[in-house]
Symmetry: C2
Subunit: 357 residues, 2 copies
């Protein structure tokens, strides 16, 4: 009754048309060793039967799975959707699937995760390390996103340039006393961002760097960053190394009665989903994930399909600079010129703070 009980294969098509499987294979792969008429007939038969090539067969024969692995040592990282989406698209475009693996931020699990991926026969691996864990030669093409490990196989956002763009923006708005807010001073990415910021401070400007983890270590978890006090000292802007920190800064300032951006401008990094949800919406700077993914996947597929000796181990940009993708500033409402002696956001508010007596 059910005509398509079994999944059709090349033999079925061949039998239907009374030709050989080799010819069917050649016709379908379009290598052009088949007469146009026959090829047409074969293709339409394949279509009618709902033929879908079995990857296992192809993979076994060719030695290529056309699957890439994506290792996220910190899958809880809120950047993950952007990364996964970009990699998946770039891979799909290149004819590859993406197998994910979570290494739960542990080195041992990362090794395991890579192993599992390799067992599943991935042709190459994209790794996004949290800290710059050095990725050993795994005997397969590897592309590292965002933290240099083995030189030459890394692509990354240009965090330094991103930091510069933020400061240029704030300085152009007229800010002269700026707080730079980091979380963890041991992070390469954060140091790059802050380094870039510092490098663009014109003479006559003042910057103060604060690290959230240090503050918490000293004053206990959840301790306030003390930005309201800095506002009182005359700082008019605060540039955070992440949207998460910017969010914390923003709510802390608003809660302390410092209006944003009038009392203090706030900027973030990464343009995560909530940057647009807060009020004021967050000025931030965004990685060009599609570009980064294209570089990573492109390097991988080149190594895979190029074959031979180059196909094993790290691939990618020969110089560390080559793999740096510029970041883009996105200006929203949380940054503005320093307030003209605006005291606070009392304008929107009844004298008792909007709470009925």
């Amino acid at each position: 009754m059910d005509t398509r009980r079994v999944r059709p294969n090349l033999s079925l098509i061949a039998a239907r048309l009374d030709v050989s499987v080799a010819t069917v294979s050649n016709a379908l792969s379009g290598k052009g060793r088949v007469s146009p008429e026959l090829a047409l007939k074969i293709r339409s038969a394949a279509n009618d039967l709902g033929y879908v090539p079995t990857m296992a067969g192809r993979a076994l024969r060719t030695g290529r799975s056309h699957v890439l692995g994506l290792v996220l040592p910190d899958i809880a990282n809120p950047l993950f959707p952007q990364i996964a989406q970009a990699i998946e698209r770039a891979a799909a475009e290149a004819g590859y699937g993406v197998l994910i693996a979570d290494s739960r931020n542990e080195v041992s699990t990362q090794t395991e995760a890579i192993g599992r991926l390799l067992e599943r026969g991935v042709d190459g691996i994209v790794i996004v390390p949290r800290r710059g864990t050095r990725v050993a030669d795994i005997g397969s093409p590897v592309a590292v996103i965002d933290s240099p490990s083995t030189p030459g196989n890394t692509v990354s956002a240009d965090h330094w340039q991103g930091g510069q763009a933020v400061i240029e923006h704030l300085v152009a708005l007229g800010h002269r006393k700026i707080v730079l807010v980091g979380n963890n001073p041991a992070s390469n990415v954060q140091n790059d961002r802050i380094g870039g910021m510092k490098s663009r401070l014109p003479p006559g400007t003042e910057a103060r760097v604060i690290w959230a983890e240090k503050i918490e270590a000293a004053q206990g978890p959840g301790a306030p960053l003390g930005l309201a006090a800095l506002a009182r000292e005359g700082f008019t802007a605060c540039a955070a190394v992440s949207d998460l920190l910017a969010l914390r800064a923003l709510t802390e300032l608003l809660g302390a009665g410092v209006a944003v951006p009038e009392g203090m401008s706030v900027t973030g990094f990464d343009d995560l989903i909530w940057a647009q949800a807060v009020r004021p919406a967050l000025t931030t700077i965004r990685m060009d994930m599609p570009a980064i993914a294209t570089v990573a996947v492109g390097a991988l597929t080149a190594a895979i399909e190029g074959g031979s000796s180059g196909a094993r181990g790290p691939v990618m940009a020969p110089s560390p600079e080559a793999g740096r993708v510029p970041m883009r500033l996105i200006i929203r409402d949380s940054s503005a010129p320093p307030g003209p002696a605006i005291k606070t956001n009392t304008a929107n508010r009844s004298s008792n703070g909007g709470i009925p007596e």
Copy 2:
């Protein structure tokens, strides 16, 4: 020179030990048809050679890839990390890999994505639809997370119960006038959450439902939700259907000078990463993703490995109720008893709002 030039296979091991590949296969798969001593020798040889089974060969022979597909129609959804992590873990535990596919929130792309996954030979698919798009029978086991499609193949957080838990919490704190904040009235999930909230309002309490999209449609994009005015009307708490909305509510309130939680308590939904980053940290309610993933993956693997007729098409809970996983309330600082006539958060603030004159 390089001893492990080629990837070792069963034949290599067999040759090394002068036994048949069948025996090697049996020894390694531990089916117990081999004498203990031989099995031991084979296993150690396999180990020495660094043998890793080739999935393509196994898949071709057994017809099982041991890979599951994960279709995210909205990969940009901030819940994605939680979902992907939970599914990946549950799958890995069951011996399956996870291939991701992004359908970019379009129906046509969703069909394509499923097709790509099927071509790659996945044994089953987990789908997380954004709206309740009905998933057609694709001839493979399917588990749907979160939006009922074909009845009986869905697992979901119990959004209704989650809404109830939020209101119970607020009512217990003493709130009697509560704003319920939704985004899109067409969303099943949001309606479930709000429905649950309403169902737990005791007599004598008052609730007002507002929908962000409606407000924006009427007053333009980015229009304020008007929560400060509601605070003035005597509302003391605001329960949002998502952390994103709660974040918007929180910043809007703080910006308007209404202290949180003193002037108004705020609660969210989902416990996304930023719920802990804001000040005050957000009281919210969390889906039990690991449990949901376990149900989804378990149903899939049962259908796959159970084989026979049940292996095709939707699988899972027979009744719509069976697949409902309870949500858990997480109490943080943004909810508290209604302020005892606290006016605003002036305590932390100099009279001019922290801005130097």
